[in-house]
Symmetry: C2
Subunit: 331 residues, 2 copies
């Protein structure tokens, strides 16, 4: 099986930890390893080849840690401009045999429970060998409005649902036949390309042209800009009739917000004070909280964020304000 | 008139700004000047002599800024151990002529409005010359439970009241004939000593013995420990029938909490963000607050305090905890 690691993304809701020069998947926040490294190692057990797809800025960050795979060499596909997941996965599929099974994963998610993960991957591999496009669904643990949902029965997908409002998320949780859409996939390269060609021919054609113009995995800007920017969910998964889902039992998080990181750190022995306040980031300074609950202080070299945990999504507003000012604090 | 500057006190509710090595009255937080310096300069206008009473640790901090008074020399009385205000003021009275008028002030309060202050002092001086013990009362601006109150009519004190609960403070504010007890006094040295001898003879006798044993204003530990530790309010003001009050119109604060400092800084052009959050202390770091209102981040070299402004009194609990641990963070 061939691990396809998508290393794009920035993590705007994790500023000031996440920076343009070091997006969240490369931060060494988690037991001294980055999410990127943890993803590489987790999939080395089930895959014998790896391709990392990302942009020029991320390439050096990715190469800096490839040694953790030992002798297992890593291939790189370098995008000239972000075109979303449908084209990125097409590039990965073009470079291998049509019968090769691809396991697509983001690089900025966390999975706890190796056994559960490997069981889910083996189940997906089997379904992929039978010619299906397999998505991984995660059992919801709370009413989450930040993820898409998959309505399912066994391995059958009944519908994909956009990010719901709170009432709808509660209904999904109550009904019990809904899974979080994890953004991980498994399928034969040839099956994906055939379905992409069928349901999003413009994406397929432009991606193929760009791939033919690429050199050693490096895409060129001009033909990349001609590719429609579409997600695999929108371009293929929501339209194909070859979709299967594997309901996964492992603990999963997209680590998309400080609340997610806070919860992960708590589960892994990191301390808060008596009122649930936590310091994230390295500092020698003593930090005391008074009159505050569930507050997170994020400490970095040049910026401090003080955050009520339940407002974690609003960190993006700070990012956007700084971006509008072209602030160096994002670099 | 002789300015008697009481420089004791630590400012436990201003940790981590206030430290044992630099109590709050010596911090250069206010327009580059410390409260100690501001108090010296404010009273230079109305007094031609100054005596600073404090402990050994504070002596060098006091001497370091005496140059701001120019040719006006400063006398120092150095206490061997804190004995509260009644003995400290007795030492100051012993060293001068009995007819000398003393103006007693703390060193860690702030007064805004020079004219109002000078008017109040001149009025107090006149009443002191007539043989009264004069206290300064401040018109309350809000229901404050952290101060004692003075019930008054004109210059007559009707009663002293301990720190009230919130309902009582509201009643005082509504009635309109109550003033905050500011901790500033004006009287003839001889009148104070006579009233102290009358109402607290043990304090008077022990203070006199200690003063006789002192060398160049330096008290010795053994005879100091024999002095009962009593405040001037308790020992004299609440008992004497020679008390007068000057209702003052200036803006006054004891700067006893971060809320008081926050309010002062706001009045003096210091900024908060749109939700009333403020950074106090010097840092080059950018600080963002998300999902929080009226939060204060206090930044120092080795400690950060994050505080909901309305819990400012609770900072003392952090101090007490660190004190119990004999933490270096208090030094």
């Amino acid at each position: 099986m061939h691990h396809i690691l998508l290393s794009g993304g920035f993590g705007t809701r994790l500023w000031p930890l996440s920076r343009k020069s070091k997006p969240k998947q490369y931060l060494s926040l988690f037991k001294g390893q980055s999410l990127f490294e943890m993803t590489l190692l987790r999939n080395q057990v089930v895959c014998n080849q790896v391709t990392v797809i990302g942009n020029t800025d991320n390439l050096q960050l990715s190469k800096a840690v490839e040694h953790i795979l030992g002798d297992n060499t890593v291939r790189y596909i370098v995008e000239a401009t972000p075109r979303n997941t449908a084209p990125a996965i097409a590039f990965a599929a073009f470079q291998v045999d049509k019968e090769a099974i691809l396991l697509i994963t983001p690089s900025d998610h966390i999975i706890e429970g190796d056994t559960g993960y490997q069981e889910a991957v083996l189940q997906a591999q089997k379904l992929a060998e039978e010619g299906n496009l397999v998505t991984f669904g995660v059992k919801p643990t709370h009413t989450e409005t930040g993820y898409g949902y998959i309505e399912y029965s066994g391995n059958t997908v009944q519908s994909f649902r956009e990010k719901p409002d709170l009432a709808t998320a509660a209904l999904f949780l109550e009904k019990g036949n809904f899974l979080w859409n994890s953004g991980m996939f498994c399928f034969k390269a040839g099956v994906y390309l055939a379905e992409l060609q069928k349901h999003a021919p413009e994406v397929y054609d432009a991606s193929l042209t760009a791939w033919k113009n690429s050199t050693n995995g490096e895409l060129d800007l001009e033909s990349s800009l001609a590719i429609p920017s579409l997600s695999i969910d929108y371009a293929v998964m929501e339209k194909s009739d070859k979709i299967k889902v594997v309901p996964a039992t492992f603990q999963w998080s997209d680590m998309g917000s400080f609340e997610a990181i806070y919860d992960y750190l708590l589960r892994n022995g990191f301390n808060t004070d008596a009122n649930g306040n936590m310091v994230i980031g390295e500092t020698d300074k003593h930090v005391s909280f008074v009159g505050l609950k569930n507050t997170i202080l994020v400490y970095t070299e040049d910026a401090i964020l003080v955050l009520d945990k339940s407002f974690s999504q609003d960190v993006k507003k700070v990012y956007d304000t700084l971006a509008a000012q072209q602030s160096m604090l994002l670099e």
